[in-house]
């Protein structure tokens, strides 16, 4: 198992390298001059702009800046300084990551807590009225643009009912509305995927065997059907959680939560090459780690995959004492 994890981590490095290089190059050849942007709006003389370019180190050739920046990240784990604000990018990312992490974790929990039982119910009672109604309602949420839902939630809960603060990120109350807005959209997709994988499992033979043993229906569904349906569901959860860790930009903008999504959006519109590249590499890293965790969770859920992990070491052992 450990050997497999190491192999996966090693593969991640070239991926992150490629992501970093592509983003840095893409941002560099995008029209727009970070120096001029950093000076803010208004007219600036050529001289001022030149001064600023030098301060930002932009007068050095592209290749030098690329190798220096990427080298710093991968060799000294130093994400460098942001071009516009001059602060350490690692510091910015680390101070913003908890917010994105909270939103992502609680959104996934909400999606699972609501989506899983709903998916199972609609699978067990396939094509019943409940099934069609719940699919329609979640579909309705799925079709609403996320900032629209966010605004409606704020008007209802924060302004009219005054239960929850409207924006900001200081207490847990501030996170209730953003989490709901963030996970409401994905609920339909998740429920449907749970339903599909449960349906597939419920009609397989070992479920009939379980029933023929006289087990309670509840036991059959939750002890026999669910564990087998978990793998596809785990994949969906992993993918969704991974992309959420990239920051829920729209929710962060509406609720003014300083997450990674907003940081990246500002970095791109401010042509802050270092911040964009650093941010993307960070997101790609978290995404790959989540994917690795999901794959490891497979083993916990399905022994056949655990065997494949351990397969290599066992074969060696058998060969050793044969």
């Amino acid at each position: 198992m450990v050997k497999y994890v190491i192999k996966r981590l090693l593969i991640m490095i070239p991926l992150l390298l490629a992501v970093g290089i592509i983003m840095f190059t893409l941002m560099n050849f995008v029209p727009g001059d970070p120096a001029q942007l950093a000076l803010g709006s208004g007219v600036h003389t050529q001289e001022e702009i030149e001064l600023k370019r030098e301060a930002m180190g932009l007068n050095r050739p592209f290749v030098v800046r690329l190798t220096e920046y990427i080298g710093n990240i991968f060799l000294h784990f130093d994400f460098g300084k942001s071009l516009t604000s001059g602060t350490e990018i690692k510091y910015e990312l680390m101070s913003r990551f908890p917010y994105t992490f909270y939103i992502a974790v609680f959104s996934i929990l909400l999606t699972i807590v609501v989506g899983l039982p709903l998916g199972i119910y609609t699978a067990v009672h396939a094509n019943s009225l409940g099934d069609k109604a719940s699919l329609f309602i979640t579909l309705l949420f799925d079709c609403m643009p996320s900032f629209w839902t966010a605004l409606l939630l704020v008007l209802l809960f924060s302004l009219n009912l005054r239960w929850l603060p409207s924006s900001g990120a200081s207490t847990w109350k501030h996170f209730v509305l953003p989490v709901i807005a963030n996970s409401l959209g994905g609920l339909a997709g998740f429920t449907r995927q749970v339903r599909a994988s449960m349906l597939e499992v419920i009609r397989s033979d070992y479920i009939t065997t379980a029933r023929s043993k006289g087990l309670k229906e509840h036991a059959v569904v939750y002890n026999h059907a669910l564990p087998n349906a978990l793998i596809p569901i785990l994949t969906v959860i992993g993918m969704r959680f991974g992309s959420m860790l990239g920051g829920a930009t729209i929710v962060e903008v509406v609720f003014s939560i300083p997450g990674i999504g907003q940081y990246l959006v500002n970095a791109i519109s401010g042509r802050d090459y270092n911040a964009c590249t650093g941010g993307i590499i960070f997101i790609a890293f978290t995404f790959s780690v989540i994917m690795l965790l999901t794959d490891l969770l497979y083993a916990w859920v399905d022994p056949r995959i655990k065997a494949q992990y351990a397969g290599a070491s066992k074969r060696k052992k058998v060969a050793a004492n044969a």
Partner: protein
């Protein structure tokens, strides 16, 4: 087994099962009746799609509800009708009184649970006992079917087809049920394993005294294991009787056709004589005998014959055809 005539343990009266697929109605089983005495073994023989598995699953009421249209008739176990049972009674029945061996061992076991847990689970459902005790029983059952105790904690994917079938058998017999329904237990296995599994089933049946319904399309197995035989065609029993009646005096043209299709050691025949045509379309209502368009002896009388009745050729030997002189195969 000698023919005892005390009260039948398990009786099926006029069982009719229909599925729906899209708008069409599939008549899987129409008016099947038979009975089973304690310790007796009944063979249900027929081509695929004749409704054998449907009968087996109906008796444990594990038919897929999403596609069942109608189930009529009675299935009596010790006088109680299984079809009328509520959930509580049904759960008590399954596993402890009636249990089942499934056809395809590859998919019959839950891939993510250890073998021992799947057997122990069934046992604990019916006997309030600690997990350790249930595991003991499971290990004993595994040893009975020839699987060493060390492999109890392995997962199904670590077993071969034959071994998996042994686990399924152990699972079915964990609570020593009164009636065992074996749905083509050896079809998915190759011949050498088939013989071992059959001996195992016979051994356990005799040891535990379980009555058994063996579903198969292989006449060889029927001869080896069963006491009574029912031949099924298009959802109906076309001929029933003791093994000797059926093997020695096959009267229904379909049964004769079945035997004719078997390779015979005495005559070296270049080509076997198959039954022409295909099994009838189950969604079609037919007025006359279902076998008419494939029957070599079809004639006017067939149209007059009421196919819902059976004719008694000799005591206990019935056929659903007016021709009863039954010439040698």
């Amino acid at each position: 087994m000698q023919k005892n005539n005390d009260k039948p343990l398990f009786e099926v009266k006029n069982l009719t099962v229909e599925y729906h697929s899209g708008d069409a109605i599939i008549h899987a089983v129409s008016g099947v009746s038979f009975d089973l005495k304690p310790g007796e073994t009944l063979g249900l023989v027929g081509e695929t799609g004749a409704g054998k598995t449907t009968i087996a699953r109906a008796s444990l009421r594990i038919l897929p509800e999403y596609s069942v249209e109608r189930v009529d008739g009675e299935i009596l176990y010790n006088g109680e009708d299984v079809l009328k049972m509520n959930d509580g009674q049904l759960r008590k029945l399954r596993g402890e009184h009636i249990s089942m061996i499934f056809q395809d061992p590859m998919t019959a076991l839950n891939p993510v649970k250890t073998v021992i847990s799947q057997i122990a689970e069934g046992y604990r459902e019916h006997h309030q006992c600690s997990a350790a005790e249930a595991n003991q029983v499971a290990i004993k059952m595994l040893e009975m079917v020839g699987i060493v105790a060390q492999r109890a904690n392995d997962y199904p994917h670590q077993f071969s087809g034959g071994m998996k079938q042994r686990v399924v058998i152990a699972l079915a017999l964990a609570c020593s049920p009164k009636v065992l329904i074996a749905d083509e237990p050896t079809t998915a296995l190759d011949v050498t394993i088939q013989a071992q599994v059959l001996d195992l089933i016979k051994g356990l049946r005799d040891e535990l005294g379980t009555a058994m319904i063996l579903i198969t399309h292989d006449l060889g197995i029927v001869a080896d294991v069963c006491d009574k035989v029912c031949v099924i065609y298009a959802g109906r029993i076309v001929e029933s009787g003791t093994k000797e009646d059926i093997f020695d005096h096959p009267t229904h043209p379909y049964t004769q056709g079945l035997f004719a299709a078997l390779p015979d050691l005495e005559h070296n025949v270049r080509r076997l004589k198959p039954i022409e045509g295909l099994p009838p379309d189950p969604s079609e209502e037919r007025r006359f005998c279902d076998f008419m368009d494939r029957c070599p002896h079809r004639c006017r009388e067939c149209k007059g014959f009421d196919k819902n009745t059976m004719v008694e050729v000799s005591p206990g030997h019935y056929t659903r055809c007016w021709r009863t002189e039954g010439k040698e195969a």
